[in-house]
C-alpha cells in the first residue's frame, strides 16, 4: 500500500471540498472494498477522506411510506433495525445475508452502492423497490443509477448521502451465495409496490437489472411458476469459475420462484 494523506472531515461540505481539492482522492466508508484495493495496488489515491465522522450520514428514519437509510449505515445495523424489520423485513433479511459478521460490521450501504459490485445484494432491493439515491448534489431514480460493471451514474466526487426506499406492500429476497466469498451468485428481490410486482436481479449480469419480462408475466400476481417460463436472456450473464451463464440463469429462475413463493405466503 502506498502512502496517502488521511482526512477525517466532520461535515458533508468539508468532505466534498476535500475530495474536490484532490483529484486523485477517494472516500472511505467501511473500507471493505477500498482497503483491499489499496493493498493490492489497484488504486493509489493521494488522499483518503474518511466519512466516519461526517455528521448525519448514518442512521435510519421511517416515515409512513418511506424508509430512509443513511449512506454510512452499516449492514449489521440495517439487519438489526426495528424500523427496517417493520417496514421492509425483506431488506433487513437481505442485509443479514451479506458476507460474514466482520463484513456486516464494517460495510455500508453507501459503499456498496458506490462500488456497484455485480454480485452485491443491495442493488437488487434498490432496483426492485424503485429507491432513490440522494447525493450531495441531486436525487437519482434507481433505474437511472446502475450503468454497468462497477459503473454508476455518480460523477467524480459525488457523495451518496442516503437512500430512500418506498415501503412496499410486501417484499421478499432470495440469494444464492457464492461458496467462498458469500456474495450473490444470483439474488432476486421481488416487491409488490404501486401497480404491480417489480423484480430486481443481482449477481447475474454486469450490474443489477429489472427482470421486466417476469414483471409483465406476473401482472401483479405473485405466481411463482411464472419464474420458470418468463423469457430470460442470459447471453450477457457473468460466467466465472463458480458459475457459468447458463447455470446463473437457472439460479435466477429458482431464486425468483422462491422469492415469489415467499411473497405469496
Amino acid at each position: 500500500m502506498n502512502g496517502f494523506d488521511y482526512h477525517r472531515p466532520e461535515t458533508l461540505e468539508a468532505a466534498v471540498a476535500a475530495r474536490a481539492g484532490a483529484p486523485d482522492s477517494a472516500y472511505l466508508a467501511g473500507g471493505m472494498t477500498l482497503i483491499p484495493t489499496l493493498k493490492q495496488g489497484l488504486a493509489e489515491p493521494s488522499d483518503v477522506i474518511d466519512l466516519a465522522a461526517v455528521a448525519g450520514l448514518a442512521g435510519i428514519g421511517l416515515e409512513v411510506d418511506r424508509l430512509t437509510i443513511g449512506a454510512m449505515t452499516r449492514h449489521a445495523d440495517v439487519a438489526a433495525s426495528a424500523e427496517v424489520q417493520r417496514a421492509i423485513p425483506a431488506l433487513a433479511y437481505l442485509a443479514s445475508e451479506i458476507g460474514d459478521a466482520q463484513v456486516r460490521n464494517r460495510g455500508t450501504l453507501g459503499g456498496s452502492l458506490a462500488n456497484s459490485d455485480p454480485a452485491a445484494d443491495y442493488p437488487a432491493a434498490v432496483i426492485a423497490l424503485g429507491a432513490r439515491i440522494v447525493t450531495d448534489r441531486r436525487t437519482m431514480a434507481a433505474d437511472d443509477y446502475f450503468k454497468g460493471l462497477f459503473e454508476t451514474a455518480l460523477e467524480p466526487g459525488e457523495l451518496i448521502r442516503a437512500v430512500e426506499f418506498p415501503v412496499p406492500r410486501r417484499a421478499a429476497y432470495r440469494k444464492f451465495r457464492h461458496p467462498a466469498s458469500r456474495y450473490a451468485v444470483a439474488g432476486v428481490f421481488v416487491a409488490e409496490i404501486g401497480e404491480g410486482i417489480r423484480v430486481g436481479v443481482t449477481g447475474a449480469g454486469p450490474c443489477a437489472f429489472r427482470w421486466t419480462a417476469l414483471e409483465t408475466a406476473l401482472a401483479g400476481k405473485p405466481a411463482p411458476a411464472a419464474a420458470e417460463t418468463a423469457p430470460l436472456d442470459f447471453r450477457r450473464f457473468n460466467a466465472d469459475l463458480h458459475a457459468s451463464a447458463e447455470y446463473r440463469a437457472q439460479l435466477v429462475r429458482v431464486m425468483a420462484r422462491r422469492a415469489l413463493a415467499n411473497l405469496a405466503a
Partner: protein, 780 residues
C-alpha cells in the same frame, strides 16, 4: 489413575496463550536492527530470465540490498534437495531438476522467487521490489496434467517431463485374476489439487553473529532439526553446529511446513550477507502461490470380483503432478505413501499399481494432511462402493465379505505392508448403528417428498502412520531415519522437563506428552513441562507429520522414563539399603518389596542431585534420553459414513450427518483426539465439496485468494458424530496408532460415495460444486 493421566480429557494447557492472543509466533519475533525481505516472484509460468536490472531498486529509499540467484550461487549456496529417492520400473533413479533457492536461468511457476529485496521497512522493501526490472523470454508452459508428457520439456535432460515411472505389486498375478473375473468395476477420476492454507502463513526471522559465525533461524517449521540438517548438509548455508533453528509457536502446518523452502533459506543467507537480522512473513497471496500444494492425481482404477463378490485383484494406474520442482518429500507421497495403501482393509490377493510422476509449470506438490493415503483411500473406497452398486450387493455387506479378519493379523498385503492388528468389522458395525442404517430408506423418502435427493456413502479407510521404521524407510529410499528422540530431565525439586523431537503446530503436545510422563512417573501434571521446536535445546528430532508424534515421539518418552525409573530404583535402593531388584515403583513411590520402607519420587530426585555417599558406580543426576525407532508402521483404520441431501434445482449438497468410528489404538487424551478428527473431517469435506486449486490454461493460479478458493467453514458442516473402537498397536509401548490425518483420509470418499448415491450417477468429479451437481442431474 490420576485425573490428568493417560486416557483423561485434560484441557489443552497451550490454549490459554493461544486464545488470549499471547502465542509467540515467528512473526511476533523482532530483533534489534532487523531489516525486511520481500521476494520478487515470477509473473510467468515458464520463462527464461534474460536480464535482471536491479539498479533502480538498489537506489530506492531504505534499500539494504537486492540479491538474485546468482549472488547465492556465488556464495556457495546449493540447490534445495528432495529427501526420498524413488526408482522407476526399469531400475533407473528418479530425475531431479536442480532447484536453486532463487531461480537463476529459468522460472518455472507463477510465484517462483528469483530475487530478494532487503530494506529498512517492509513498505520500502515492497516498493523497491516493484522497481526490479526483469527481461523475460516467455516459454510455452506445461499446465495440463493429462498432457504433461506431450508438452515442451521443462527441465534439461528430463524427457517427457517424467520424474519416474514406478510400480508395485505382481502384474502377472493381477492380469490372471482379471482374466477370470465375474465382474470388473472401473473408474477414471482426478484427485483435485488442494492448497493447504494453514492459518499462520510461513515466516522466517534470521540473524547471524559474525564473531561466532553462528546463525539463528526462527521459522515456521514442523521439523526444525530436519531443516537444520538440510540447510547444513545440502544447501551449504552453515555447518550444523553453527546453525540453530527454532520453531516457536506454529499456527498449523498440515504438511506444508515440513519442507525446506527458498524463502527462509534466502532470508538466512541475506542475514549474513547484509549483517542484519532479516525478517520475512508471507502474505496470503504468497502462501497461495508458493506453499507446496497437495494431491493432484489422475487415476484409472479397476477392481476384479468373482461371482460371490470376493475381491480378486486391483489394478491402478496414476499420473501424479509434482509441480515444477521436487519439494522435500514430494517423491514419496504418490508412491510409498499411496501405492502401499491400496489393499485398504481388504484381503484383495493381487494388486498392481503404476505411478507416473510428472513435472508441470505449477507450484510444487508435496505432502498435505494424509499425504498419499487420502488418494489411496479414495481409489479403494470409490471402487468398492461402485462395485457394490454394480453387482447389487449392499455396500456394507460387500465390505464385510472382504475384510481382513481379526484372526488373520499380522497380515501381509500384496503391496509391501504388514498390518499388525485391527478389527474392521467392529468399526463398521458401530458406525452403522450410529447412523441408523436401517432407517436410511425412510429418511430418503422424507427428503424426496420435499423435492430433495438423499444419499449415503461409506469409507472404510486404512492408513500407515507412525512414520516410520528407519530400516524400512531407508531401504525404500528415504534419506533420513524416522526414529524420534526424547529426553526426560528430572529437576532437583522433582519437577520434570521433557524434551521431544516431535513438534506441535496445533496438535497439543504440551498437554498430551505431559499426561504421558506424569502418568508414567507419578508426578503431578502441572510439574511436567514439555519443550520442543529448538535445535539449541534438544538433541535431535525428526518432527511431526504422518501422525507420528505420540506413536514414535511418545514412545521415546516412555523409554526414557523407563530409564529414569531404573535409575531411581538404584538411588532408592542405595538410600533404603536394599537391592535395586527389590524396589518397586508405582504411582510415584519407590518401595522396597515386603517392607514398609519407601521414598517418594521427589525425595529420590532430590537425592540424585544431593548425592550423600553414593557408591562409585552410581552417578549423580536424574536425566535420561532415548531414541525410539519403531519396528513397523502403525495402522489406524476406521469407518466413516456420510449422509447428504441434494437440492436438485440448485445443485447444492448439504452434508447432513457424518459418523466416524476410528480405531486409533489406545487414546491418551480423547478430547484432543476428537479435535484432531473434527479438523481432519472438515478438511476432507473441503476436498470433496469446496476446495480446488486451479491454474488456467496460461498457467496463472486463478484460485489465489479466499474469494475464490473455498475453505470449509463451520456452517458448511454438521455436528460430527465420532466414536472409537480399540485394538492396541502391538509394537509400541503405549499401544497407540495416531489420529492426526484420519479425518482427511476417510472423509472425501465417504462424502463422494454419498453424493453419487444421491444423484444415482457412477462418478462425479471433486469438488462436488453446485454447478457440477446440477449439470450431472441435467445429464442424468
Amino acid at each position: 489413575m490420576s485425573d490428568q493421566g493417560i486416557g483423561q480429557r485434560v484441557k489443552r494447557r497451550e490454549d490459554v496463550r493461544f486464545i488470549t492472543g499471547k502465542g509467540r509466533y515467528t512473526d511476533d519475533i523482532n530483533l534489534p536492527g532487523q531489516a525486511y525481505a520481500v521476494f520478487v516472484r515470477s509473473p510467468h509460468p515458464r520463462a527464461r530470465i534474460k536480464t535482471i536490472d536491479a539498479s533502480a531498486a538498489r537506489k530506492a529509499p531504505g534499500v539494504v540490498g537486492v540479491f538474485t540467484g546468482k549472488d547465492l550461487a556465488a556464495d556457495g549456496i546449493g540447490a534445495l534437495p528432495c529427501g526420498w529417492l524413488v526408482k522407476s520400473k526399469d531400475g533407473s533413479d528418479m530425475k531431479v531438476p536442480p532447484r536453486p533457492p532463487l531461480a537463476i536461468e529459468t522460472v518455472n511457476f507463477v510465484g517462483e522467487p528469483y530475487a530478494v529485496v532487503i530494506a529498512e521497512t517492509l513498505g520500502q522493501a515492497r516498493a523497491a521490489a516493484a522497481l526490479v526490472e526483469t527481461d523475460f523470454e516467455e516459454l510455452e508452459p506445461v499446465v495440463s496434467l493429462a498432457e504433461a508428457t506431450a508438452g515442451p520439456q521443462i527441465h534439461e535432460g528430463i524427457e517427457a517431463n517424467r520424474c519416474y515411472d514406478w510400480e508395485l505389486g505382481d502384474q502377472a498375478a493381477v492380469d490372471a485374476a482379471f482374466a477370470k473375473a465375474a465382474h470388473v468395476t472401473k473408474l477414471e477420476f482426478a484427485n483435485n489439487r488442494l492448497i493447504p492454507n494453514a492459518i499462520e502463513p510461513r515466516a522466517a526471522v534470521a540473524t547471524y553473529s559474525a564473531p561466532t559465525e553462528e546463525f539463528t533461524l526462527y521459522t515456521t517449521s514442523q521439523n526444525p532439526h530436519l531443516e537444520r540438517l538440510i540447510l547444513a548438509a545440502f544447501v551449504n548455508l552453515a555447518p550444523e553446529h553453527k546453525l540453530r533453528v527454532i520453531s516457536p509457536d506454529v499456527g498449523g502446518g498440515f504438511g506444508s511446513k515440513i519442507f525446506v523452502y527458498p524463502e527462509e533459506t534466502a532470508a538466512a543467507w541475506a542475514a549474513r550477507r547484509t549483517n542484519r537480522p532479516v525478517k520475512w512473513t508471507a502474505d496470503r497471496s504468497e502462501a497461495f502461490l508458493s506453499d507446496a500444494h497437495g494431491r493432484d492425481h489422475l487415476t484409472t482404477a479397476e477392481l476384479a470380483l468373482d461371482a460371490a463378490g470376493t475381491f480378486l485383484a486391483m489394478r491402478v494406474r496414476t499420473r501424479a503432478n509434482l509441480g515444477a520442482y521436487l519439494s522435500t518429500f514430494a517423491s514419496s507421497v504418490p508412491t510409498y505413501l499411496y501405492g502401499t495403501l491400496l489393499a485398504g482393509q481388504y484381503r484383495t490377493p493381487a494388486i498392481h499399481v503404476e505411478v507416473e510422476a510428472v513435472f508441470t509449470n505449477t507450484a510444487p506438490v508435496d505432502a498435505y494432511r494424509g499425504a498419499g493415503r487420502p488418494e489411496a483411500t479414495y481409489v479403494v473406497e470409490r471402487l468398492v462402493e461402485t462395485a457394490a452398486r454394480e453387482t447389487g450387493v449392499d455396500p456394507a455387506e460387500l465390505r464385510r465379505r472382504n475384510f481382513i479378519q481379526p484372526d488373520q493379523f499380522p497380515y501381509e498385503t500384496p503391496v509391501a505392508l504388514v498390518y499388525d492388528t485391527g478389527d474392521y468389522q467392529a468399526s463398521l458395525e458401530k458406525a452403522l448403528k450410529q447412523i441408523d442404517y436401517a432407517g436410511f430408506p425412510a429418511r430418503r423418502k422424507v427428503s424426496e417428498a420435499a423435492g430433495k435427493r438423499r444419499g449415503l456413502g461409506f469409507s472404510c479407510y486404512i492408513e500407515a502412520c507412525g512414520l516410520a521404521p528407519s530400516q524400512l524407510a531407508i531401504q525404500l529410499g528415504a534419506g533420513v531415519g524416522l526414529y524420534e528422540s526424547g529426553e526426560v530431565r528430572v529437576n532437583p525439586t522433582g519437577s520434570v522437563t521433557v524434551f521431544t523431537g516431535s513438534h506441535s503446530h496445533g496438535q497439543g503436545h504440551e498437554t498430551t506428552f505431559a499426561q504421558i510422563v506424569s502418568d508414567k512417573l507419578g508426578v503431578p501434571f502441572e510439574s511436567v513441562e514439555v519443550v520442543h521446536g529448538d535445535t539449541g535445546r534438544l538433541e535431535f528430532g525428526l518432527g511431526t507429520y504422518g501422525s507420528r508424534s505420540v506413536a514414535v515421539g511418545g514412545s521415546a518418552l516412555i523409554k526414557a522414563s523407563d530409564k529414569i525409573i531404573a535409575k531411581g530404583k538404584r538411588i532408592a535402593a542405595h538410600m533404603l539399603e536394599s537391592a535395586p531388584d527389590d524396589v518397586d515403583f508405582d504411582e510415584g513411590v519407590f518401595a522396597v518389596r515386603k517392607t514398609n520402607k519407601s521414598l517418594t519420587f521427589g525425595e529420590v530426585a532430590f537425592a540424585a542431585y544431593v548425592p550423600a555417599n553414593f557408591p562409585e558406580d552410581l552417578e549423580p543426576g536424574l536425566s535420561e534420553k532415548s531414541f525410539y525407532d519403531p519396528k513397523n508402521f502403525t495402522f489406524p483404520a476406521g469407518c466413516h459414513i456420510a449422509e447428504v441431501e441434494v437440492d436438485p434445482e440448485t445443485g447444492v449438497v448439504v452434508l447432513v450427518r457424518f459418523v466416524a468410528v476410528d480405531d486409533f489404538g489406545e487414546v491418551i487424551n480423547p478430547m484432543i483426539v476428537e479435535g484432531q478428527v473434527h479438523g481432519g473431517i472438515a478438511q476432507g469435506v473441503g476436498q470433496a465439496l469446496l476446495e480446488h486449486g486451479i491454474y488456467d490454461e496460461s498457467g496463472q493460479l486463478v484460485t489465489g485468494s479466499f474469494m475464490d478458493y473455498c475453505m470449509p467453514r463451520a456452517d458448511d458442516l454438521p455436528s460430527f458424530e465420532v466414536d472409537t473402537t480399540v485394538t492396541p498397536c502391538t509394537h509400541n509401548p503405549l499401544g497407540v496408532k495416531g489420529c492426526g490425518e484420519a479425518g482427511a483420509i476417510g472423509a472425501p470418499a465417504a462424502v463422494m460415495n454419498a453424493v453419487t448415491d444421491a444423484l444415482r450417477v457412477k462418478d462425479l468429479a471433486m469438488p462436488a460444486s453446485p454447478e457440477r451437481v446440477w449439470r450431472a442431474l441435467q445429464a442424468a
